[in-house]
Assembly symmetry: C2
Homo-oligomer: 222 residues x 2
DNA sequence: TAGATTGTTAATCGATTAACAATC
DNA sequence: TAGATTGTTAATCGATTAACAATC
């Protein structure tokens, strides 16, 4: 309750939100190792953020710790899961059934949490009707109708650049709540629709930068 | 020249570096549309960063613009490409030949710039010897030897969590300069080795957060 | 109770934005 | 030259870190 009240009053910066899944991963590891409690200091040593930042981050959502004790691993894990909305199920569709779309279709299977791919869509007649990881591939022409019928939360865009915006427009019109975009471009979404980009080429390009910076620095040392 | 001098004196924040591939994408689009010049203001309208930030960002690397004129699209594109190191070729290997590894193998084919996947590695005997997008899959046991023989720049980690750190250790020992990590965990790399993570599940989890935040907000409006 | 560690306020640091002189 | 727009300095804003009183 406290969490929801706090969340409604002020927006939490995206820097904080990006750290939450990471906290959750480490807490999950601790849980697996049967660790019951952890202090912000111990967590700091594991995860690399300062203890101060960890306490600040968590206190955006409520006081989950206890003075003199620290945090209970399991309950903090559950709290963070709830903050992220991972105590719910999400129905997803994938548009674009190329290698990446197929990889996502297979990958999400392993997301133990409730992310369920309910359908895939493609324009390629050879793929329509095929099942990938037991998910049926439908004709892209059916997308509007499918979205009208079913209640889909997340649309995953695995098309090329040229088609991506049209796909997103259809998804927005069809009542989708969030877009997970793998197309290498920036998309325009309706107000109130969440958008998360996975720009693989951008990621690789910044890796290239750091590779070069590092080799320049080692030259300097010589 | 100026660029290299500046780059050596002070480290540029990762916030700036993350924006560079995005600038480059937009400049590329402009180039395709035969736009010759652009002002920081016009670029701001396209890309969404403030004109001031754009000028600040670029001036970390040198004065690429001209007062009263703006920036030459093509030359700015080339400058940013050079800063990122995209005027060079990178030899890459992929370890882990599951769906994601295969998607990356196929995907990189389209990275017109010089990212070349020279080999893939897996432990699965059924996959060893197979060719994916004309790239041979080798036995994982051959990895050390392969790295000793060839000069590989980037190691792409597409294994599961359990194997990822071992793979990275081998890559570091084998003289790789950068790691592109798709395993859902944080890896330890040797000093001077660049690491770029693509944490798909973290990305999806923060999308879930924003989906929920948005639906709470629309409830409030009612 | 004494010790530990949180939650929170205050201080610092860094990144973004604004302003404007320099200059094409 | 006049107008436009950069490069750069200064101001502001936000995020991180430090400090410590509160409290388990």
């Amino acid at each position: 309750m406290r969490r929801i009240l706090k969340g409604n009053t002020k927006t939490i910066s995206s820097a904080v939100i990006k750290r939450l899944p990471r906290y959750r991963r480490y807490l999950n590891e601790l849980k697996k190792k049967n660790v019951d409690r952890i202090s912000s200091n111990e967590l700091s040593n594991l995860i690399g953020y300062t203890a101060s930042q960890i306490r600040q981050d968590l206190n955006n959502f409520g006081g989950f710790g206890q003075q003199g004790y620290g945090y209970n691993v399991e309950s903090l894990y559950n709290e963070i899961s709830a903050i992220l909305g991972l105590d719910q199920e999400y129905r997803m569709i994938i548009v674009g059934t190329g290698n990446l779309g197929q990889a996502i279709a297979n990958y999400t299977y392993y997301f133990k949490s409730g992310f369920i791919v309910s359908a895939m869509f493609d324009v390629n007649p050879k793929l329509i009707g095929v099942r990938i990881n037991d998910i049926e591939v439908f004709d892209y022409d059916m997308l509007d109708e499918y979205l009208k019928d079913k209640d889909i939360d997340i649309g995953i865009v695995c098309t090329n650049k040229a088609s991506a915006q049209e796909v997103v427009d259809k998804m927005c019109a069809g009542g989708i709540k969030g877009i997970w975009n793998f197309a290498p471009m920036d998309l325009i979404v309706n107000e109130g629709i969440a958008l998360e980009n996975v720009h693989l080429s951008d990621s690789l390009h910044s890796l290239a930068y750091y590779i070069n910076r590092n080799s320049q620095q080692s030259q300097k040392k010589d």
